[in-house]
């Protein structure tokens, strides 16, 4: 008898639990009373991106105070999960009213599928001028802008001043000098460059810079947008140079199996002397208390050196806007959402760099804000830049980007010849035309 009672209890419990599940539903997304609800998804969890998360909360609070009839409901997911969920939501036409997107190639299918709404009207009336030129353009398709960027990054080569001093090395101006540095460090048993190429876009940065310095700022971009061809000799030459670096043991051991986090740690713990990465790393080199003060004091950066005989100049950068905000075309609260995005971008620009160390895509007056010197230097370089080439995998459509990234890994692993590397790119790009 006891056994039966036991089982029955279990069954009852199960049903009770299921029922509590059901009854919890009403608290969810329904519009409560006359209040309108904007659903907003972002990718700055409070744990890992505390400052960003706080700013978001703060902006929402202000927005709700100014618009008492609107409520903003937030969902936070980390990067990878965020992308997956957006994908699933899109397929059922259930996107949030406001969310984050990436530029160019990522954006394309969403716009083509009619899921994002044009934000041109938001940009009118002065907002457009507050953006750094070229940033909103990365979110434009057929002349209409579908996303407002929040971040702007460039990728310098960070270096460890102490190691450089120890081996009497100077910041290189030319690629030849750079190669000498690599050799000197290598001969002294120091890993010259930290790289985690499991993530693949990390290696792509090296390739992109070499392509820029050898072939000039347009050759890669034009190959991707089909004004040019990927079989341009300079693109193959850049690939050869990458393999020369690999052959010279320029990168830390096993880089193709290491994540960016692991690769970065080689630089952060002083095993490797240089690290090519976006300016989003600046907090780790300036304000992050977890990183030893001594290390932060010794961190500097330099611009990717010029290649002799190459067409690129030293003030041309790889970088560009990071995440941007979109408004869903099918949103029931489209107007409110647009207002929110406008409000958000403005408020974000005011505090992103000072509070979270994120360089916003809106203009920052370096005179007015108090920042660590390294930030000021990077911001000044940004103002001086002659060209910004958007990360290749962002420029490309999703499927070409996959091909590109895999080829990058093969290139660094010496598994593909430079000729085939460019040929396979060309084929993948041509297929999409």
């Amino acid at each position: 008898m006891f056994r039966k009672a036991h089982t029955l209890m279990a069954l009852l419990l199960a049903f009770a639990l299921v029922l509590t599940g059901c009854s919890g539903k009403e608290a969810g997304s329904e519009e409560s009373g006359s209040k309108k609800t904007i659903k907003f998804m972002h990718l700055w969890p409070a744990g890992s991106s505390k400052q960003q998360n706080l700013i978001v909360q703060d902006i929402i609070k202000q927005f709700e105070a100014e618009n008492p009839d609107v409520k903003v409901e937030v969902e936070v997911l980390e990067n990878e999960q965020y992308k997956n969920k957006i994908k699933v939501l899109s397929s059922s036409n259930e996107l949030p009213d406001v969310g984050f997107t990436w530029a160019a190639g990522y954006l394309q299918p969403f716009v083509k599928g009619g899921l994002f709404t044009s934000l041109d009207d938001v940009l009118e009336g002065g907002l457009k001028d507050s953006f750094v030129p070229g940033t909103t353009e990365a979110y434009a398709i057929d002349g209409k802008t579908y996303g407002l960027p929040l971040e702007l990054n460039i990728a310098p080569i960070y270096y460890n001043k102490e190691i450089f001093k120890k081996y009497n090395l100077e910041v290189p101006k030319t690629y030849e000098e750079f190669e000498t540095i690599v050799k000197t460090l290598k001969d002294n048993g120091v890993a010259p460059i930290a790289l985690g190429n499991k993530d693949r876009w990390t290696g792509s940065l090296w390739y992109m810079y070499l392509a820029d310095r050898i072939g000039g700022p347009d050759v890669l971009t034009q190959a991707i947008n089909r004004e040019g061809s990927f079989e341009d000799p300079s693109l193959a030459e850049a690939a050869t140079e990458v393999q020369n670096l690999v052959k010279a043991d320029a990168f830390n051991k096993g880089f193709n199996g290491l994540s960016n986090d692991e690769g970065k740690s080689e630089f952060m713990n002083g095993n490797a002397a240089m690290y090519l990465m976006g300016s989003w790393e600046l907090p780790n080199l300036t304000t992050n208390e977890e990183v030893p003060q001594e290390f932060r004091d010794n961190a500097g950066f330099f611009k990717f050196p010029t290649v002799e005989g190459g067409k690129g100049d030293i003030d041309s950068w790889v970088g560009g806007p990071g995440v941007g905000m979109f408004v869903s075309e099918n949103s029931k609260v489209k107007e409110e959402s647009k207002q929110f995005v406008k409000f958000f971008v403005e408020k974000w620009g005011e505090q992103a760099v000072t509070k979270a160390g994120v360089i916003p895509a809106t203009k920052v007056d370096t005179e007015k804000v108090e920042l660590p010197q390294l930030y000021i230097d990077v911001l000044n370089e940004l103002n001086k830049s002659t060209n910004l080439t958007l990360f290749a995998d962002v420029q490309m459509s999703a499927s070409v980007a996959e091909t590109h990234l895999n080829l990058i890994q093969s290139l660094f692993g010496n598994e593909v010849k430079p000729k085939d590397f460019t040929k396979q790119h060309e084929e993948a790009l041509a297929k999409e035309e």
Binding site: A14, G21, W44, G47, N84, E94, E290
Partner: protein, 299 residues
Amino acid sequence: MKTEAKQRIPSVSVDNRLEVFSHPAMQKASKGILYVILAIVAVFQIFPIVWLFLFSLKNNQEVFNMSPFSIPTDPKWENYAKVWTEGNISQYFLNSVVYTVAAVILTVILASMVTFAITRMKWKLSNLALGLFMVGLMIPVHSTLIPLFSTFTAINLVDNPLSVILSYTAFNLPITIMILLGFYQALPREVEEAAVMDGASLNRIFFRITLPMTSPVIATAAIINMIYNWNEFVFVNTFISSDQYKTLTVGIQNFIGQYTTDWGAIGATLMISILPILLAFLILSNRIVEGIASGSVKG
């Protein structure tokens, strides 16, 4: 009979050990070797927990720079504080427990019923039914996400805990049935058949005889289900959007950033989330052995 069986065990246990080598000295030596091997494997199996604990006390610098088993000079207990104060961890915890328990109970009962009907009852389509359930093993989770989401949207279950519980149940049913199946087939039918002769109803037989008799395998299946559900995050992330319905696994996500990840805090989250399941495992795991005692009635 039951007590008799129990009493017998100690008396035979002496000649019950590995008898590959009959000579006593050899026997002793081989037993020694066996224990050494067992101990080595045990160390190997316990070290992940030790590692995880040490991991949870480090910051990123230490996670990557120090050898995995080094003890951090300045243990970062604040990782735990960070995890515990950040977000609604107690709510997530409760949700994890509710989803896991509900889905485990539902799965085990439904799977037992199906297995009972398939192995004990006589009907033409039983093999087909079994086949239908087995197909459920074979579909990769990621190709079901978009269809499942659209299904849940259609029946208005998105952002409802029920979507998660039902998904867990549906996706674990096949494997649970498979596990139960092997046992049901090996189980003697005499007791049940005798009960039928006595005129007991099938419901009665199922609940009062079969379920208790299979409690070791139920415990086994429950452990496996529990582990799967507890650590699952793809369904939760996809079907749930309200913070109030999310589970402990979002605690891990919380520390993954766009460009940097706080590994120490992730370690602390993993450590916190493994404790309840470890406890449940130890309790259920005893059930496997206890179950044998009651199961031996049939022997």
